[in-house]
Symmetry: C2
Subunit: 629 residues, 2 copies
C-alpha cells in the first residue's frame, strides 16, 4: 500500500533541526516527474495520484500508516524534550499551590483546566441520567483517555477528556430511552459506544479525516460560539438546581459565589494580559488564575458561621474506584434486545459525527497557525485510538472522552514559550515622542507527552478515597463559575462578536487599514447572520429531545462554506472574513496536504484581519475559554 | 468698605461676550499705579493692598460683597440661559424614563444622582441614630438646600444635599451622646447646628474661604480616596445589615442585586465611554446608566415568586411631610442644659470644618479647570448661605446639607456640551496608515439655576404620600450598589491609584514622554504614601468614636502641602505630581486671586501629567463617582 521512502526511519530529523523530511521536499516546488512519484509515495498526499488511487477510501489505512511513520521518529524526543526548564518549572510551580487541594494534581495548570470542567459537566449529567454517570465515571474516562493518548497518541498536545457536549448527548439519550424502558439505559449506551467505535475505525481506516483540512473559522467560530452559549446556560442551570436542592439561601449564595468566581478569574486574567509587573509575574497570573480563585472560593464557602451553615450543594462522590451505581465496571451489554442493539446504531453514528468534528477541531486548534510547532501530528491514527477509547468507555459505562475545546489549545499555549517584545512606533506629529506597544511573540513550543501523561496519573490519583473527600468539599457553585468563565471566554474572543462590535463602531474611529472596511457592511452582516442562525438553531434544539442531532447541523457548516458561500461572497470578501484554522504544514501533512478550495489561493492571502492584528499586537495568548483567537 | 468700581453694575457683560469685567482688567498685565489701585478696589484681591488692608480678617464682609457684585449681573441670564436646547432636551429626555418611578423627578439625570445617595446615607443614619433621622428628614434637608442655593446661591452649579460624611458625623455624635443621655440627642444636634451656623457666618464674613484656593490635587485626591473607601464600606455595611434584618436568603439576594447593579451600571458607563454607536447614543448610556439600572433592578426585586418572597429590606418611609419620629418639625432646642449647649460648640466647630472643606471642594470641583465656565461663582456668599441652611437644618432636626462630592462636578459635567473629535496620528512606520483616536472637547457649559431649582421641587414632590410609597418599593440592596458604583468610581479614577498603577507598570511599556518618569520612583512612592497614610488614618478613626475628628485630619493636608512638601520635593517634582484643582480665573476671582504658593510659578507649569493626558485624549468626562479626573 505504501513503499518505503528514501528518508529512512532511522534518521533523526531533530538533529538537523529540520522539522520533517516531508516538509523539505514539499518546498522543492518544481521537481521532475520521478521525484514527484517518489514524493507521492513517501508523503501522505493525493495530489499527484491518478486513477483509482485518487480515491482515498480505496486506499484504506494509508493515512494511519503515514501518521505512524511520520510521528514515530519523534517519540524519544517527546520524553527527552519534556525535561526542558519550562516543563520542570511549570511542574514545580504548579505542584505547591495546588497540592493543598489535590496533591498529585500537579503536572500542569491544565490539570485543573481538565479536571474542573470534566467534573462540572458531570454534575449535570449525574442528575439527568438517573445518577448513572457520576464523578468516578468522568474521572476514569478522562484518565483512560489521557493515558492512552499520551502513551500512544500521535499528537499528545491534544488534551482528551469528557466534554459538555457528550454530557448533553448522554442525558438526551436518557430522556429518549426513559420514554420506553429506562432500565436498558446502561446497555443501550454500551452499544452506542460500540457502534460509535466501529464508525470511528471506519473513518480512520478510510482516511476520511482528511476533510477536516477544510475547517475554516467560518465553522469553528460558530462551534465556539455554540459551545460558549451552552456553557453559560449550563452554568445557569447549575445555579437554578441549587435553588431546588438547597432552597433560597443556598441558591442565592451559590449565585454570589459563581458571580464573584467569574469576576475574580476574569480580573486576574486581564491583569495577566496587561502591562503591569514583569512578564513572569503576569505569566503566573494568567496561568494560575483558575487555581488561585478556586482555592479561594472553595475556602470561602467553608468559612464557619453563616456561610457554612447555608449548605450549598457540593460535588457528589462515590466510594474510591467504584462506579457511582452499585454495579461492576463492565456493563452486561450482551443482555440487550437485538432490536435495541440496532436502534443504538444511529446514536453511535451521531457520536462519531460529533467526535469527528469536535475531536479533530480541538486537535487542529491545539496545532493552530499561531503555534510554532516543529513536530507533526496524526489525525487518522488519533481518530482510530479515539475509537478504541470510545469502545472501552462504552462497555465500562463511562462518558465517552474526546478532544477538548478549548482546553486542548490552552494546553499548547501553556507549553509555548512567549516573549513580549516592545514595539516603538514613531508618530509624525503632536503626540510627544512615540507610542510604545507590547508585541507578543511565540518562540517555541515544548512538544512532549509527559504533561498529558501526568494528567492521566493525577486523574487516577483523584479517584482515591482521600482525594474524593477533598473533591467533595468543592461547592457546585464554583463549577457554575467555571462555566461562566469558559463560556464567556469563548464568546468574548469569538470572531462573530468581534465582527459585530466592529459593525457597531462609530465609523470615523475605525482605523483606515482595517481590512473589514473593504467588505460592505451588509455582507459582513450576512456572514455573521449565517453563523448566528446556525448557532441559535443548535442552541434551540439542545433543549429539546432533538439535541442529539446537533452534530449534524454543526457539520453542515463545512459543505456550506465550500459550496454555498463562494456564490454569495466574492473571493476577496471571504479572504477578509474567513481564514483557515490550521495552516501549519506539519498539520496539513496528516490531512493530505493543503485544502483545495474552489478558489485555490495562497494561504498568505487569507485571514487579512488576523494578519493585521498579529502585525500590531503579536499572537494572542489563549484565554481559558478562547477558541484560537 | 468698598468703593464703586468703574464698571457699572448696569453693563451687561453677556452682550459683549466678555466673561467678566474683573477678568479683562486682570489680563492687562503691566498697567500703571492708578489703574492698579482702582483694580484693587474694583476686584476682590489683596495683592496690591498695604498696611492693615492686607489682613483679610480685618475687612469683614468684603468677600461676600464682591461675590454679590460679581455675580448679580448674571442672574437674569441664569434663567434665560436655561432655555437652551440642551437643558430642554435634557429635561424631556429625563422626564419619561424616570417618570415611571418618581414623576416629578425629571429635571435632570442628576436628580437621581442627588436622590439616590441621599437616601442611601439615610438608611444607615436612620438605623444608627435611634431612627431620629429618616428619609423625610433627608428629603426635606436636600430640598431646602436645593431651593435656597438655586434661588439665591452665587454658584448654582454646586449641588447641595445630604452627604455620607454628615451621616457619619450624626451617628458618631449619637454614639457619644448615648453614653450620657440619649434623650437630649435632638436638642444637642440642634445646638450643634446653631454653633456650626455661627462659625459658618464668621468664616464667610472674615473672608476665610480664600484659603481654599490652596487646594491642590494632593489633598483633594486624598479626600476623594477617603470618600470612595467610606462609600464602599457603607455599601458592605448595608449588605451586612440585610443579613441581620432579613436572614440568610434576603442577605444573599441583596448581595446578588448589589453586585449585579454595580456590574450593569459600570458596564453601561464603560460602553458610553467607548467608540460604539454615535456620540448621542453613547451620551444617553453615560447619562442614564443609573436610571436604566435602578429601574431594572428595582423591578427585578419585585418579580413574583422566589425573588419577591425573599423579602429584601426596602426603604423605610414615614407619612408624607412628617418627621420620622412623632415630633413637630421644630426642635425644642431651648430645653437643653446650658452645660450641653457649650458641649455642642466644638461639635459645631467640627461641622464647620467639615463643610469648609467638603462644601468648598465640591464647589471648586464643580467649577474645576476642565469646564469652560464663563460666569463667576462666589465662595464667601455661598458659605454664608450654607450657614443659614445649617441653622435651619439644626433647629428642624434635619441632617445638615452641604456641597456634594462627586455629584456637584457630575452636575456641571452633565450641563457641559461635549464634542468628540477625531484625531488622526500619522505613524512613521510599519503600522499601516495611521492611528485614529477620539478626543473629547468641552465646548461650553449651560450655566443656569433652573436644574438645581427643579431638583428641589422634585425632592419636595418626593415627600408626598404617593411618591413615598414608590420610594418604599426600592430595595436597600440597590443603594448598596449605588455605594459601590460611586465609591469605586472615586477610587478608580483617583490620582493616587493612577500613580500606583504606573509604578507597577513594566518600565519599557511606559511612553517616554510620561511626565512621571521625570520623578524618581521613590519620590512618587513617598508622595502617594503620605496621601494613603492620611486616608487610612481617616478610615480607621471613622470606625471609632473619634470619627467626628476626621475633618481635622483632612484639613491638615492643606498646610502640609504648603509648608512641608516643598522641603521634601523639588519644585519640578511637585509640578509633575500635583496640580491646582481650580485654575479658572472666574473661580479664583472669588478666592482673592491666584494662590501665592511659596514656589510662585505659572499655572501652565503645573499638572504636567494632566496636560499630557488632555492633549492626547481630551478632557475626561466625569464618571458618576470620579473626582475631577
Amino acid at each position: 500500500m505504501s513503499t518505503r521512502s528514501e528518508s529512512s526511519l532511522g534518521t533523526r530529523p531533530l538533529d538537523t533541526g529540520d522539522p520533517s523530511p516531508y516538509d523539505e521536499r514539499r518546498n522543492d516546488g518544481n521537481a521532475d516527474g520521478q521525484l514527484e512519484r517518489q514524493r507521492s509515495k513517501a508523503s501522505y498526499s493525493y495530489e499527484d495520484a491518478r486513477g483509482w488511487r485518487r480515491w482515498r477510501v480505496l486506499r484504506p489505512g494509508r493515512g494511519m500508516y503515514h501518521d505512524i511513520k511520520r510521528r514515530l521518529p519523534y517519540y524519544p524526543s517527546d520524553i527527552t524534550d519534556a525535561w526542558s526548564y519550562r516543563t520542570i518549572a511549570s511542574t514545580i510551580r504548579m505542584y505547591f499551590p495546588f497540592k493543598a487541594m489535590v496533591p498529585q494534581a500537579s503536572a500542569h495548570a491544565d490539570r485543573l483546566h481538565s479536571l474542573l470542567p470534566a467534573i462540572a459537566y458531570t454534575l449535570d449529567m449525574y442528575r439527568r441520567t438517573g445518577e448513572f454517570f457520576g464523578v468516578n465515571e468522568a474521572l476514569f474516562s478522562s484518565a483512560l483517555a489521557a493515558i492512552v493518548f499520551s502513551l500512544i497518541g500521535a499528537q499528545p498536545l491534544t488534551i482528551v477528556g469528557v466534554t459538555g457536549l457528550i454530557s448533553l448527548f448522554n442525558f438526551t439519550t436518557y430522556d429518549i430511552i426513559s420514554i420506553y424502558d429506562v432500565s436498558i439505559y446502561p446497555q443501550f449506551m454500551a452499544w452506542t459506544g460500540i457502534w460509535a467505535a466501529i464508525f470511528h475505525w471506519l473513518v480512520a481506516v478510510l482516511n476520511a479525516c482528511d476533510y477536516m483540512r477544510y475547517v475554516t473559522d467560518f465553522s469553528s467560530e460558530s462551534f465556539g460560539m455554540y459551545v460558549g452559549i451552552i456553557y453559560i446556560i449550563k452554568g445557569l442551570e447549575e445555579l437554578i438546581n441549587e435553588f431546588h436542592e438547597g432552597g433560597s439561601a443556598a441558591g442565592y449564595l451559590a449565585c454570589v459565589i459563581a458571580i464573584l468566581y467569574f469576576a475574580t478569574v476574569y480580573a486576574l486574567e486581564k491583569l495577566g494580559q496587561g502591562k503591569m509587573w514583569k512578564a513572569g509575574v503576569r505569566g503566573i497570573l494568567a496561568d494560575y488564575a483558575y487555581v488561585f480563585c478556586t482555592l479561594f472560593w472553595v475556602g470561602f464557602s467553608h468559612i464557619p458561621g453563616r456561610l457554612e451553615e447555608t449548605h450549598v450543594a457540593r460535588v457528589p462522590v462515590a466510594p474510591a474506584f467504584s462506579p457511582t451505581q452499585p454495579r461492576s465496571w463492565l456493563i452486561d451489554f450482551w443482555n440487550l434486545d437485538v432490536k435495541w442493539v440496532f436502534v443504538a446504531m444511529p446514536f453511535g453514528f451521531l457520536v462519531m459525527l460529533l467526535f469527528y468534528y469536535d475531536h479533530n477541531v480541538s486537535s487542529i486548534t491545539a496545532q493552530a497557525r499561531q503555534f510554532p510547532l516543529k513536530k507533526p501530528g496524526g489525525f487518522h491514527w488519533d481518530f482510530f485510538l479515539l475509537g478504541c477509547t470510545t469502545f472501552v468507555a462504552g462497555i465500562l459505562g463511562l462518558p465517552m472522552p474526546n478532544g477538548l475545546v478549548p482546553q486542548a489549545p490552552v494546553h499548547t499555549d501553556s507549553l509555548t514559550v512567549y516573549k513580549t517584545e516592545l514595539r516603538i512606533i514613531s508618530t509624525a506629529e503632536g503626540e510627544g515622542t512615540e507610542i510604545r506597544r507590547p508585541i507578543v511573540k511565540a518562540e517555541a513550543v515544548v512538544e512532549q507527552r509527559v504533561t498529558h501523561f501526568l494528567m492521566g496519573l493525577a486523574l487516577i490519583g483523584t479517584m482515591t478515597g482521600p482525594l474524593l473527600v477533598v473533591l467533595h468539599t468543592m461547592p457546585a457553585a464554583v463549577f457554575a463559575g467555571v462555566f461562566f468563565v469558559v463560556g464567556w471566554g469563548s464568546i468574548e474572543s469569538n470572531g462573530i462578536l468581534q465582527k459585530f462590535i466592529l459593525l457597531q463602531a462609530e465609523n470615523r474611529f475605525i482605523q483606515r487599514d482595517e481590512p473589514l472596511l473593504r467588505v460592505r457592511r451588509r455582507k459582513i452582516l450576512l456572514y455573521i447572520s449565517i453563523q448566528m442562525v446556525t448557532v441559535t438553531t443548535c442552541v434551540a434544539i439542545s433543549h429539546t429531545i432533538a439535541a442529539i442531532g446537533f452534530p449534524v447541523i454543526i457539520m453542515l457548516l463545512m459543505p456550506m462554506r465550500i459550496l454555498v458561500l463562494p456564490r454569495w461572497f466574492r473571493l476577496e470578501e471571504l479572504q477578509v472574513l474567513d481564514d483557515f484554522t490550521a495552516t501549519n504544514k506539519m498539520v496539513l501533512a496528516s490531512l493530505g496536504g493543503k485544502p483545495a478550495l474552489p478558489e485555490h489561493s495562497k494561504e498568505e492571502d487569507w485571514g487579512l484581519e488576523r494578519q493585521r492584528s498579529e502585525k500590531r499586537h503579536g499572537v494572542p495568548r489563549q484565554r481559558a475559554g478562547s477558541l484560537h483567537r
